[in-house]
């Protein structure tokens, strides 16, 4: 169990750093492009590059969100059914998520094979294989993150704890602690 936690912590650190890095790059790209446009200059690569950045943030961020179980869901029904059925439903749900991302990784590699030799329209030296690699890589990362975060989710769901409520409590405690001296 400790090995899983340690692995999850390492992956969390790496994905967090990479997501922050992607956000910084996207922010800089958007700001520079907006200022340039207002100054009467426009970059031909802006739309294409910014859209690719958004896609990368989507999948690397989605893997991080999976590790932290932050994706939007609806747990009221699940938490209200008897424990033995609840845990079967959890297993079924996890199997569905993993199946989808296995399919996404597999078809993602198929698409990459077809795209060999293709380059971006605006930046002709960037291979599309590189930009679209986010689909299979993002899918594999999602699978790993989903598995690593399963033990905690399993435990909380068995105890009848809503992850969303737990997350809100945590955020609120943090804000209240920050503002405590003022209030």
């Amino acid at each position: 169990m400790n090995a899983i936690k340690r692995l999850a912590a390492i992956l969390d650190f790496l994905l967090e750093a990479f997501t922050v890095f992607l956000m910084v790059v996207l922010t800089v790209v958007v700001i520079v492009a907006v200022l340039a446009r207002l100054a009467g200059e426009s970059f031909s690569w802006y739309d294409e590059v910014a859209a690719i950045m958004l896609s990368w943030i989507t999948y690397y961020g989605a893997a991080l969100a999976a590790l932290r179980r932050r994706h939007i869901g609806f747990d009221s029904v699940l938490l209200s059914i008897p424990v033995q059925f609840r845990m079967i439903a959890v297993l079924l749900g996890e199997a569905v998520v993993l199946t989808f991302f296995i399919l996404m990784a597999y078809t993602g590699f198929q698409v990459l094979a077809v795209l060999q030799g293709s380059y971006l329209v605006s930046l002709t030296w960037v291979p599309i294989q590189f930009t679209q690699s986010v689909i299979p890589i993002g899918a594999i990362l999602f699978i790993i993150c989903q598995i690593l975060s399963l033990p905690d989710y399993w435990q909380k769901t068995r105890d009848g704890i809503s992850l969303e409520h737990a997350e809100i409590e945590e955020e609120v405690d943090e804000e209240l602690a920050k503002n405590a001296p003022r209030s």
């Binding site: 967090e16 997501t19 922050v20 956000m23 910084v24 996207l26 922010t27 958007v30 700001i31 492009a33 907006v34 207002l38 739309d47 910014a50 859209a51 958004l54 896609s55 943030i57 989507t58 999948y59 690397y60 961020g61 989605a62 991080l64 969100a65 932290r68 932050r70 994706h71 939007i72 869901g73 609806f74 747990d75 009221s76 029904v77 699940l78 439903a89 959890v90 079924l92 749900g93 569905v96 998520v97 199946t99 989808f100 996404m104 078809t107 198929q110 698409v111 679209q132 689909i135 299979p136 769901t157 969303e164 809100i168 609120v172 804000e175 209240l176 920050k178 503002n179 003022r182 209030s183």
Partner: protein
Amino acid sequence: MLMLLIFVALVALICINVPIAIALAMAGVIGLLATEGVSSLVSIALDMYSGSTKFSLIAIPMFVLAGAIMNAGGITDRLINFVSAIIGFVRGGLAMVNIGVSLFFAEISGSAVADVAAMGSILIPQMKKRGYSAPFSAAVTSSSASLAIIIPPSIPMILYASSSNTSVEQLFVAGVVPGLLGAAGLMFVAYVFARRYNLPTEEAFNTKRLRETFVAALPAFTLPVIILGGIFGGFVTATEAAGLAVIAALIVSAWYRNLDLRHLRRAMLDGGIQTAVVMLLVAASVLMGGFLTRAQVPQDIANAILGITSQQWVILLILNFFFLVVGFFLHSAAAIILVVPIVIPLIAAAGIDPVHFGLVVTLNLAIGQQTPPVASVLITSCAVARANIWDVSKVNIWFILILLTVLLLCTYVPSIPLFLVDYFYR
């Protein structure tokens, strides 16, 4: 029969807490397999990629980021002081301040939950100390923060615009008057409560104090000026305004000497994760949408309803009811991404203005944030106030009634949301 199977699969997956994005994508996969066979599965990779590269949605991470920087940047106290100097003298002053600050906050951030956590954690403890009950404090905070999602910039509006090919700039403009109307209504209810329970006033009105607090808060007002002025004036697009909002947020936070790398990193991370969660939904909707379009499902639904009635007011009534029910069970982003693409052909066929309908949808989902079981804003307010959801809901009913009144007014008097749109764009 196939559609029924897909619908049942979707609902069943959502009920066992499969993330809604994955449930949606899986329903799309079932549809693809059933109609086009295994070879069509390559659409998974293609659609999930193209769905995540929608350029207009770059506004989402930028607005979330601007809001997160401002939340961390010491703006909250100054806004509270300024609004308190304007309306703190009224009975129930802190409740008024709460509603007023929500309006300003809404001009900066697109996320109601983050605003409640940041602003509520300062105001709710103060309210409780001044004799306001915990349920009342939570209800005021919750309802005013939800109203704020119809005031630009608004992430649900950006998503609606993208799902329906509507101008996000026009939607932003359409939200202003209903937002102000709703705030006035909420303040009225708060005032009635304040009279009834003899709640205190805050500081007496004082021009000098107003001037001082205004000057202190002045840099923070650059954001609404950039966002509203830039977009309304037609100088920038919503995406460009979002980029400028980040610059302004950075400058203002630096001005207040509250900008440090730790906060900035946290803001970037919050922005990244929130964006990823919403964008995964968007990408999944492209996968599902491709199947639905090929199967002509939205057109069939439109024809079926138009076969019963072609009266706009009846169609709007049905859709209002539908979105209110959906709002009980789904987060606003998920509700928009799931439902809007399906009903848009009906809206077009019935001759309803898509900007008008977008405002109606957003208002419905604002109300949905107040109604359990899925009510993230209400739950956050309750957590801050340490109050029971049921106790808060009993007070909150009065505030929800105001939001419903604004919804009905905007639905059946389209000129309320649209006259500014007509003035600026048509």
